[in-house]
């Protein structure tokens, strides 16, 4: 009997664990180590953040689902990896610290044959003074929608602002809280939901709504922008996004590294080196992401964290990490197997793998501050990679050295993104976008780097209906209800 341990029960880890268990059956063991008691359909946190959904609508408890599936669930966080075992034992293991199941604070060693790191991002609020509280949590001046609890808090603050805006002019700031953030799409969706809700609440005229972001241009989205077919033209996402912001009366500050947050004020540096300040009454700023800080130790106890993890804390896989200039970046730099090059029984899926470089064009201010989005690894790629890793591990377990490693690159993978503006079935709209591939391949698609037949975007109710359907479909799938395997990632 082999044991697979999946660290992280989010989009990627849940996909890996559930498929692996289905394919391995009771002959082998699948263990999920994750600190959260609930699974969260994160994209719908946006609707929680504007009060259109409750927390209970976007989360469900993991324990009964894993029990039904026969997965050994440990509500704990992984702390360290020991890929060579320890003195007196060659058996690889991880150490975990419980966060629930009545064992809070207890630690344990768990041996493994295969290990998948799907621990997602650490929300690195403390990278920007004032954005964090100094203890790794969000600070008191801004809100976030990155977790369901954050989103609940964001909504209560937003409602307070809407109430005040009935009698006075106020300012809302939404965007990224650092020069190296990703996830602009989530902030983009949130700002237009706020705009929509403000109109509904009759306070739009009293609210100045502003976007602040590390993108060099609107519509970069951490993917260097994209070109899509709209109305017979092939247009840059810059035009698409600028049109939307202008239509909704949302002003923007771009190429901005927020370097300090105070009560009611952000300080920022821009790509041209100028320093600025922006006041706000309500701000939702996405924090930069980092790896969750797992440590790794060799058999003799020496620290080998640097061997397994990149400096940003994400796990090294089969990517080409050789530093090279933007002009030499290639689609083939991106990993295909998600396998650690040093320890071949270790994989990383979703946000947890270290990308070879960013996707957007790198940029620095004259002061040397890097201000560019880091690469997004959205839900669809995270799910697809999670499933591919499950296939690889299952094949290795069943067929030993003859096992087939499933290959899939983000340069051959698309992403579907639906950014809503409102939630109503007939009054909201959404920007529905697909990008193919996520990582541009200029050798295959000279010009835009992407297939413009399958990279498109449009605004309307249709996208909105799709967003609703995806919400119910993915929660249904994650609960492993009948036919769940037929729903694609």
């Amino acid at each position: 009997m082999a044991r697979l341990i999946v660290m992280g029960g989010g989009v990627a880890g849940h996909t890996t664990a559930t498929f692996a268990k289905k394919w391995l059956g009771s002959e082998h063991e699948v263990v999920v180590v994750t600190p959260n008691a609930n699974w969260n359909w994160i994209p719908s946190n946006i609707w929680v953040g504007v009060g259109q959904m409750k927390k209970e609508d976007v989360v469900f408890p993991l324990a009964p689902v894993y029990e039904k599936a026969g997965i050994d669930y440990r509500q704990a966080k992984a702390v360290s990896i020991h890929p060579e075992g320890k003195e007196g034992s060659d058996k690889q293991f991880i150490t975990i610290e419980y966060t629930g199941q009545g064992k809070e604070g207890q630690t344990e060693e768990l041996e493994y044959d295969y290990l998948v790191n799907a621990t997602g991002p650490k929300l690195n609020f403390d990278a920007t003074p004032g954005l964090g509280d100094g203890n790794g949590q969000i600070g008191p001046y801004t809100v976030s929608v990155c977790t369901a609890d954050h989103a609940v808090h964001a909504n209560s603050e937003l409602r307070r602002i809407f109430e005040k805006a009935k009698t006075e002019k106020l300012k809302i700031l939404v965007g990224t809280g650092h020069g190296m953030c990703t996830c602009q799409g989530a902030a983009f969706e949130y700002i237009f939901n706020i705009e929509h809700e403000a109109k509904k609440a009759g306070v739009r005229d009293n609210l100045e709504i502003k976007w602040i972001s590390n993108e060099a241009f609107l519509g970069d989205f951490g993917m260097g922008g994209l070109h899509m077919k709209v109305g017979g033209y092939v247009v840059s996402s810059k035009l698409f996004a600028e049109s939307l912001y202008a239509e909704r009366g949302v002003d923007w500050i771009l190429g901005a590294h927020v370097n300090k947050v105070e009560e009611g004020k952000v300080h920022y540096e821009q790509l041209d080196g100028t320093m600025g300040e922006e006041e706000f009454d309500f701000a939702m700023l996405i924090p930069p992401f980092a790896g969750v800080g797992l440590k790794a130790y060799a058999k003799d106890g020496s620290d080998i964290t640097d061997t397994i993890f990149a400096p940003n804390g994400f796990m090294k896989v089969d990517a080409d990490y050789t530093p090279k200039p933007y002009e030499e970046w290639k689609a083939s730099d991106w990993p295909r197997k998600y396998q650690n090059p040093t320890y071949s029984n270790m994989f990383a899926a979703g946000i947890a793998f270290a990308p070879p470089h960013i996707i957007s064009k790198p940029a620095k201010s004259p002061n040397g501050t890097p201000i560019n989005p880091t690469p997004p690894r959205t839900g669809m790629p995270s799910g697809i990679i999670g499933k591919a890793v499950a296939e690889s591990v299952c094949s290795l377990i069943k067929d030993g050295d003859n096992g087939h490693i499933h290959e899939i690159s983000m340069a051959e993978m698309g992403a579907a993104c639906v950014a809503s503006a409102g939630k109503g079935v007939f009054d909201g709209t959404a920007a529905a976008m697909t990008v193919y591939p996520v990582v541009p391949d200029f050798e295959k698609y000279p010009g835009t780097g992407r297939d413009t037949d399958y990279t498109f975007g449009e605004i309307g109710l249709a996208g909105h209906w799709i967003k609703h359907i995806l919400h119910y479909l993915f929660i249904y799938k994650a609960k492993l209800k009948p036919g769940w395997t037929l729903i694609p990632e």
Partner: protein, 53 residues
């Protein structure tokens, strides 16, 4: 002033972009047109999902 022209005057940035007119805005919430778009977008998304696996 037509609704779509209001924001052009609000800032230089807005002035240099494009803002949808009445018909384009109507199509965004026209249920019949959006139902057709719904089918088209779904087909495209399914193809993208298929190409990605």
């Amino acid at each position: 002033m037509k609704e779509e022209e209001v924001n052009f005057g609000k800032s230089d940035k807005f002035n240099l972009t494009m803002i949808p007119g009445k018909f384009a805005r109507f199509l965004r919430t026209c249920v019949i047109w959006q139902f057709i778009r719904f089918l088209v977008i779904n087909v495209k998304m399914i193809i993208v999902v298929g190409k990605s696996h």
